[in-house]
């Protein structure tokens, strides 16, 4: 009884090593099947829980009308702009606080204070200041991305063994070279962790912001669908969020980590 199962499992393992994408899709199959069965049996009213086929159809029509591509583009662009500034400001700030005892003393309490306020808590005042536009959303995302990036960069800089600095100095590195040759690469695995957390939070903050102040985007699509009573589109929005995050993680973040921290042995699998 157990042997055929074990055999099938080892087959599956071999298959996924050869084609990793299969390993991403297969776990979702039972979930989709259950979803399909539940909706086919009409356990819940169709209007409350539409089936997979309806969601796919809705996806098709929203792509056809151009609404979904436009909204998707808007959301991704907002995330890109916000993350860019979050990282561009966060890494230098983290390095400064990590390296300088004075900067640490001066800025650490402020960082902790503002981190606690939380991204969406800023929305009321940001809407008054900047209105319902890209600026408001960018500020929220920058705000969300920057804290994990700064805090993890500080941690990364501080975890570099003192012998690394000593080795570089006694090989003739100047203070500026040290920044590029030791501090940044040494802190990179932690910076990546910060980036991963930051983007994850940023993505959620974006959707929340779009729901509250948006006029377009995936968050707006979902909220708008609620007004229209279209559960199909809400489900579609949720699925897209999951898929997009998966893509960002496995196409961008994971390859960078494989090429750096993992390759260097600074991060264990």
């Amino acid at each position: 009884m157990t042997t055929p199962l074990l055999k099938a499992w080892s087959h599956y393992l071999r298959l996924t090593t050869r084609w990793p994408s299969i390993g991403t899709i297969v776990p979702f199959i039972p979930l989709i099947v259950i979803w399909w069965v539940v909706t086919e049996l009409q356990v819940f009213p169709r209007a409350f829980l539409p089936g997979p086929s309806e969601v796919v159809r809705s996806f098709g029509s929203l792509v056809y009308t151009g609404v979904l591509p436009d909204y998707l583009q808007d959301s991704i662009w907002r995330l890109v702009v916000g993350s860019f500034w979050g990282v561009a400001l966060g890494i230098p700030l983290g390095v400064l606080v990590g390296l300088s005892q004075r900067a640490h003393k001066a800025l650490w309490p402020l960082l902790l204070f503002f981190q606690a306020i939380g991204d969406i808590a800023w929305l009321p005042i940001l809407v008054i200041w900047f209105g319902y536009g890209l600026t408001t959303m960018t500020v929220v995302i920058v705000y969300t991305v920057i804290f994990p990036v700064v805090l993890n960069t500080v941690l990364g800089v501080r975890s570099i063994p003192i012998t690394m600095y000593r080795a570089a100095l006694s090989l003739g590195a100047s203070r500026t070279r040290m920044l590029w040759e030791v501090v940044l690469p040494g802190a990179l695995p932690n910076i990546m962790t910060g980036l991963r957390n930051g983007l994850g939070y940023g993505w959620r903050a974006l959707i929340a912001t779009e729901i509250i102040v948006g006029t377009s985007g995936i968050g707006f699509l979902m909220f708008d669908a609620r007004r229209a009573g279209s559960v199909v589109e809400i489900l579609l929005g949720m699925i897209i969020l999951g898929i997009l995050w998966y893509i960002v993680d496995s196409w961008i973040l994971a390859p960078i980590e494989r090429a750096t921290g993992l390759r260097w042995g600074l991060v264990t699998k």
Binding site: P161, T163, M164, R166, A167, A168, L169, S170, L171, G172, A173, S174, R177, E181, V182, P185, G186, L188, T260, R263, W264, G265, L266
Partner: protein, 252 residues
Amino acid sequence: MKSLTIRNLSKTYFDVHAGTNVTAVRDLSLEVPAGEFVSIVGPSGCGKTTLLNMIAGFLPHTGGEILVGGRPVKGPGPDRGVVFQSFALFPWRTVLDNVAFGPKMRGVGRAEREKIAHEYLALVKLSEAAGRYPNELSGGMQQRVGVVRALANEPDVLLMDEPFASVDAQTRMTLQEELTRIWEQKRPTVIFITHDVAEAVFLGNRVVALSKGRVLEEIAVDLPRPRVWDDLIEDDQFKALSARVLQLVRSA
């Protein structure tokens, strides 16, 4: 290669936990002519690592002076190469780039510094590993890289802080033989810190025993070179010298 002169060196620091001043090195003088290999031995807490860190410029000294080629030491610099007990290779650089690091900091162009790095890697038979990252290498291989990384920068003085303490016994003997071969070939000025008496005698032209931050005694080692363990392990003169140094260290 240059000489190293240490005159009336002392190091006192405030121990926060004990709440008192501690003197790690006191009134220590040592003269190392250019091209000499000096082993420094002593029990833990005798100040040998503090001494090396002061010569390297990692720690400031509180009295006396350290001169390399007649010039006083003020902070770390490429004139003093350091080999660390923990190897301290840059994990984010390949073996080749680690060895080429010093020349790169000096402004040597890529082609030239890679040529230098390849030559030094060949010296320790690690040409094959040039493209690998340090974490893919065994401890013994990593420390070979550590030694040639320091040498490739052509320092005036090579400082080695218990470099072979964290590798297994067989590898250690191989590394000692390789180091003595490289020294015989290139004749750098070396300060070698160790607590291993046999290692100190095997490698050095002179063994300096430290105790409580002072030089206890200096012993000349006039064993013939090239030195290999097969010749020395049963050699009477080697055994006598080792016994002598061991006695000194134990009495310290």
